[in-house]
Amino acid sequence: MSADSTPPQPLPNHLRATRRAVIAGGAAATATLSLPACTSGSKGDSAKLPHIGDDLAVVEQIVDTLLAIDEGSPFVPIEKTDTMANIDRLFATLPDHVRSDLSKGLTLFNLAAIVLGWYFRPFTALDRADRIAYARRWETGNKTQQGLLFALKQIVYVSYWREEITWGPIQYDGPVTRRLGIARQGLTPLPETTVEGAAK
């Protein structure tokens, strides 16, 4: 069932993501800007993604939904990048209580699809068009929904676009100093002057 014609509805209380889950998402999101460099393989393999752990299915679908890169599109397919591994490394850096709150937020996001928009299935069981429509409801829903979706966007987008391979299609230059051979100026010599009035 498509939800396109149904106006956004607030979540039932018992399914409402907690404020803490949203803040956890926020913490995770900004930490995404700061993942260690990664070299390992990318998708789908929970043994290789131990920190995503039980959230793997929902995280994979969120990544696919928020990026929605179609075959033949000019953008680099997710599986050619280390996006999932980057997210895993991010999750590894989160304090236990933040990780646990984030997990609760992800579970709520997944299960709330059953009632929100009357899909009667969790988010992970929807096709991509419905998943996008559902995510858009969160994006424009109540503050809690908006907050969690905003955090998820940051996690996914920084994890994808930090990959150098993604820059070609958008003509982003990336690092330039070494490539252009710009010389380091080094330390600035000691100051010679003390301004009058500032002298001892």
């Binding site: 949203v22 803040i23 926020g26 913490a27 999101a29 900004t30 930490a31 995404t32 800007l33 700061s34 993942l35 260690p36 939904t65 928020l66 990026l67 929605a68 890169i69 599109s73 953008f75 850096t93 996008i132 995510a135 994006e139 424009t140 829903g141 908006q146 907050g147 979706l149 905003f150 966007k153 940051q154 987008y157 920084v158 676009w161 930090r162 993604t166 299609p169 958008i170 003509q171 982003y172 230059d173 990336g174 690092p175 330039v176 100093t177 070494r178 710009i182 010389a183 380091r184 100026q185 080094g186 330390l187 600035t188 010599p189 000691l190 100051p191 002057t193 301004v195 009035g197 500032a198």
Partner: protein, 522 residues
């Protein structure tokens, strides 16, 4: 006299890797907590007068040869909490540097003096009678000369700025080229990831090496846990050296000192003072937090802009730069794709469209003269808590900021303007600006904001009943304890704060040097 070292790699900074397991019991005339804007200036000014100085820095020592110009990596290495420091509501990202050189290593180099209307408030409301533009002039002049502060030349104003300036000109809105502390800018656009070619005159390439030349010792990876004090006098600090790679403790470090200078920045300084039982007579330690909450407004144009190319900051709009005229400024800036992706409006096809057109996107950020409405404290888990919510008045200023920015963009020929609300707001016609922006909620948890300028949590003032430190920088009621960082500001200053920190720290150092033998006994 020339320095013994050429490059930041050569600097003899102690780190977790070199310090040894300890415990280390050190002594010095002065121990400085934090090596950023306030701490570095203080270290140099006192070391130059022959004082033995130890600087303890919680963050790592990262020489500029290791600046990779990849934002995610550098945020992890150079920023507080790996770039993830937020307020309790989660809607404000509070960016601070945490490395040798502090926030000056990652800042965008805009150089402003403290506005006179701000100083007037400081004089009238906080009894800081010597805070006049004239009295502070020598301190500003000195630091400006030393850090090569100059007004941007035309080649330092990139296409992103040109496009926005065009909009300002069409509307008759005033803009000016910014002044920056940069020498021979290489126009790489990576100020916020650290200047890989040392052109930005951060503390890492200036005051810290100069202080070390005069014998100051800098120890990185070393977080001050507590200030020691006895009978109303500070006597030193207790610190821990942590290996940044493993997070494990390497050594205990204690420094016995005749003078303790706290310059850990406006979030950490009040926490350190409170941990040390130094809450002051006024109860104001940690209160009055302000931060210039900034919203980034982006716009899509037909023309290619490549906003990430060229100097990070070129010009700014000063039309509304006084509280009587709005109380905000707009600075014109974009960053690379691995940074901007986090601010993308929309999802799926909307996101890809935005990123695909990033080269056609212009960006500006706002700084507002916000009220000192926040508190830095600890939560019930004992963790740092930044309790800051934009006040109703400031929220309306942000609304005005959005409207004025959108008008400038449309005058410049923008196709659409993106407002960073969580629920994406896109304005596609100048006629819609008021209707759309007036309808925005803008309450807590509705719009993504960033602070680059935390300040105000150990406010300076003559009266110990409503301030934390005196006009000379000394903590009210505790001798030999000084504060010299952005936490001193009694009110928010609206403009970028580094120069004010340098000037205040220089002035306080001067006062300490004047006391000379009285303080140090030699």
């Amino acid at each position: 006299m020339s320095l013994a070292w050429q490059q930041t790699d050569d600097l003899p900074v102690q780190t977790a890797a070199t310090i040894g397991s300890g415990p280390h019991r050190l002594s010095a005339d002065v121990v400085v907590v934090g090596s950023g804007a306030g701490g570095a200036v203080m270290a140099y000014e006192l070391a130059r007068e022959g004082r033995s100085v130890i600087v303890l820095e919680a963050g790592p020592f990262v020489p500029s040869s290791r600046f990779t110009e990849r934002y995610p990596q550098m945020m992890e290495r150079l920023y507080q909490d790996r770039g993830g420091q937020r307020n309790e509501d989660g809607d404000l990202l509070v960016l601070q540097g945490s490395c040798v050189g502090g926030s000056t290593v990652v800042n965008a180099a805009a150089a402003f003096r403290t506005p006179e209307y701000v100083l007037r408030d400081w004089r009238e409301k906080f009894g800081l009678s010597d805070m006049t533009s004239e009295a502070l002039d020598p301190w500003f002049t000195q630091v400006e000369q030393r850090l090569s502060v100059h007004v941007n030349a035309p080649h330092e104003i990139n296409q992103n700025n040109q496009v926005i300036m065009r909009g300002c000109d069409k509307l008759g809105v005033s803009w000016r080229p910014l002044a920056r502390n940069i020498k021979n800018c290489a126009l790489t656009g990576f100020c916020l990831a650290g200047c890989a070619s040392d052109r930005k005159q951060s503390m890492l390439v200036t005051y810290l090496p100069w202080a070390m030349h005069h014998g100051a010792q800098v120890i990185a990876d070393t977080r001050v846990e507590r200030i020691r004090h006895k009978n109303g006098k500070a006597t030193g600090v207790v610190a821990t050296t942590i290996d940044p790679k493993t997070g494990r403790k390497v050594a205990d470090v204690e420094v016995e000192a005749k003078l303790v200078v706290v310059a850990a920045g406006a979030v950490q300084s009040p926490l350190l003072l409170t941990r040390s039982g130094l809450t002051g007579q006024s109860g104001q330690v940690g209160r009055n937090f302000a931060c210039h909450p900034s919203v980034g407004i982006l716009a899509d144009f037909d023309e290619e802009i490549f906003g990430w190319r060229g100097a990070t900051l070129g010009a700014y709009c000063d039309e509304w730069d006084h509280p009587d005229r709005g109380g905000f400024i707009l600075e014109f800036a974009m960053a690379g794709a691995d940074f901007m992706a986090a601010f993308s409006p929309g999802i799926a096809d909307k996101h890809l469209e935005f990123m695909g057109r990033l080269k056609n996107v212009a960006g500006m950020i706002s700084l507002i003269h916000d009220e000192n409405a926040g508190v830095i404290t600890t939560n019930d888990r004992g963790e740092k808590a930044i309790r800051y919510r934009v006040t109703q008045k400031d929220r309306e200023t942000i609304r005005t900021v959005i409207k004025r920015s959108a008008e400038i963009y449309f005058a410049a020929g923008a196709n659409k303007v993106f407002v960073p609300t969580y629920a994406p707001t896109v304005i596609e016609d100048v006629k819609d600006i008021d209707r759309i922006v007036d309808a925005l909620d803008l309450g807590p948890g509705t719009i993504g904001m960033t602070s680059y300028h935390p300040q105000g949590t150990c406010r300076m003032g003559a009266n110990p009943q409503n301030s934390v430190v005196g006009p000379d920088g000394q903590f009210h009621g505790v001798e030999r304890l000084y504060v010299a960082d952005a936490s001193l500001f009694p009110t928010s200053i609206m403009v970028n704060p580094q120069m004010t920190v340098y000037a205040l720290s220089s002035k306080i150092a001067h006062g300490i040097n004047e006391q000379g033998s009285e303080l140090f006994g030699n």
